[in-house]
């Protein structure tokens, strides 16, 4: 059952991901991306990481993609007014994507030994366990990321306020 669900969700995620880049209409792309996010949230639930799954849906599907969608709806993008991209830009994009692929494969290559040394704990995704880990073992990174988010909020306010002297 779990294995079937895994393959089903992976199929949905990968095909939705492909549709994001092949869809002609930007609004359709955004909607496919939302489907991909839901499939990934399903993967988290399969790993018993309920908290991560629901936060993933709240933050990505519920907030960021809504903003994306409203911006794209307002811009009214279509083929006619899309600026033509130069060949240099295309080449740069290919190189960047290829480098990302190298990074990903390098990261994922060593995971088998990690899985063997640290067996899967099905309690880790629950709120209580996660909270304890975050506030005991990883307090400094947690606070630093909170600071990062705070600076992003302040930055957004500064950008919006033109008359701020």
């Amino acid at each position: 059952m779990t294995q079937f669900l895994f393959y089903f969700l992976s199929f949905v995620a990968v095909s939705a991901g492909l549709m994001v880049i092949t869809a002609k209409n930007p609004v359709h792309s955004v909607l496919y991306l939302i489907i991909a996010f839901f499939a990934i949230a399903g993967h988290y639930i399969l790993l018993n990481a309920q908290f991560l799954a629901i936060v993933h849906i709240i933050v990505y599907a519920g907030a960021i993609m809504v903003l994306f969608l409203s911006v794209i709806m307002l811009l009214n993008l279509n083929k006619d007014n899309e600026p033509a991209k130069s060949n240099v830009l295309k080449l740069a994009a290919v190189v960047a994507a290829g480098l990302l692929l190298v990074t990903f494969s390098g990261t994922l290559k060593g995971t088998e030994s990690i899985i063997a040394s640290q067996p899967f704990d099905d309690q880790i995704g629950y709120v209580k366990a996660l909270g304890k880990v975050l506030f005991n073992d990883f307090l400094l990174p947690f606070e630093v990321s909170a600071l990062l988010l705070l600076s992003a909020i302040i930055g957004a306010v500064v950008l919006v306020k033109h008359d701020l002297k």
Partner: protein, 342 residues
Amino acid sequence: MFTPDLIFKVILILSIFVITLVIAMYSTYGERKVAAFMQDRLGPNRAGIFGILQPLADGVKMFMKEELIPDISNKVLFILGPCLAMTTALMTSAIIPWGSNINIAGTDFSLQVTDLNIGVLYVFAVTSIGVYGIMIGGWASNNKYSLLGALRASSQMISYEIAMGLAIIALIMSTGTLSLKEISAAQAGFHWNIFVQPLGFLIFIICSFAETNRAPFDLPECETELVGGYHTEYSSMKLGFYLFAEYINMFIASAVISTLYFGGYNFPFMNSIGLSSNAVAILGVVFLFAKIFFFIFFFMWVRWTIPRFRYDQLMRLGWTVLIPLAIFNILLTGAIIFATNN
């Protein structure tokens, strides 16, 4: 395969589904009667005694009307919009504890479809994806008024979600759990959360009004500015779905408010009146529904009392009043917890 537990769950799910639809149906009737009462009119009184068959007549009318799909709109998304609005409206009912355990032939059955470890966050997630039905419908209509309604809906819901989430954080701090079952059980008798979190409740109910697009926050379908808002182009039962989803949302929001702040299925002196546990459980369900009906009435009461906000007033209220107030509430809750623990 067909364990008693599974059969009970299926019956529970189906009955919650039917009850939700019936309550949403009669909320439309109730709203018109409440409006009539407040404006010193009679309200619907032609179909059946006291007009009690009016929702059925409305339903038949909705199904019989001609169905129009605008020529240049995106057909798939145009149909997907109302379907999504309806689905997300119905999803939250899965985790609301409608009562405590009921004992049939020696086995305990929980009157809650599923108790998620992350209960409150699930409610929050469903609310936050609820906006897609409106946005997709509004965009696919290919109409400026619809698009404006959809954009208003999305920015309004995102803005009020923040204050709502912050109000919930303060509640979680004082209850110490995310599970709705445990939150309900902790309020046994008369230990309702409203006495612990009055400010949080105030923020939460204001945000509920905004999230359900009810007056005074019904800007996405503001008739005086936007014709019909996001559902301008919709007709027949697709329009019916949007209107229906609003009433289901109102019912679910009332159920969530009752569960989180008003004790859920608990009622005063529930353990000292000396009834059997089954009788207490059934009485608890009755009390929960009484609370829900009160809040549905409250939603209507506000709608026919307070005039609609202007859009900039709505945004200012959300960002400069409710969010700071919610953060203050979190600090206050934290200070009180710190003081009582030492």
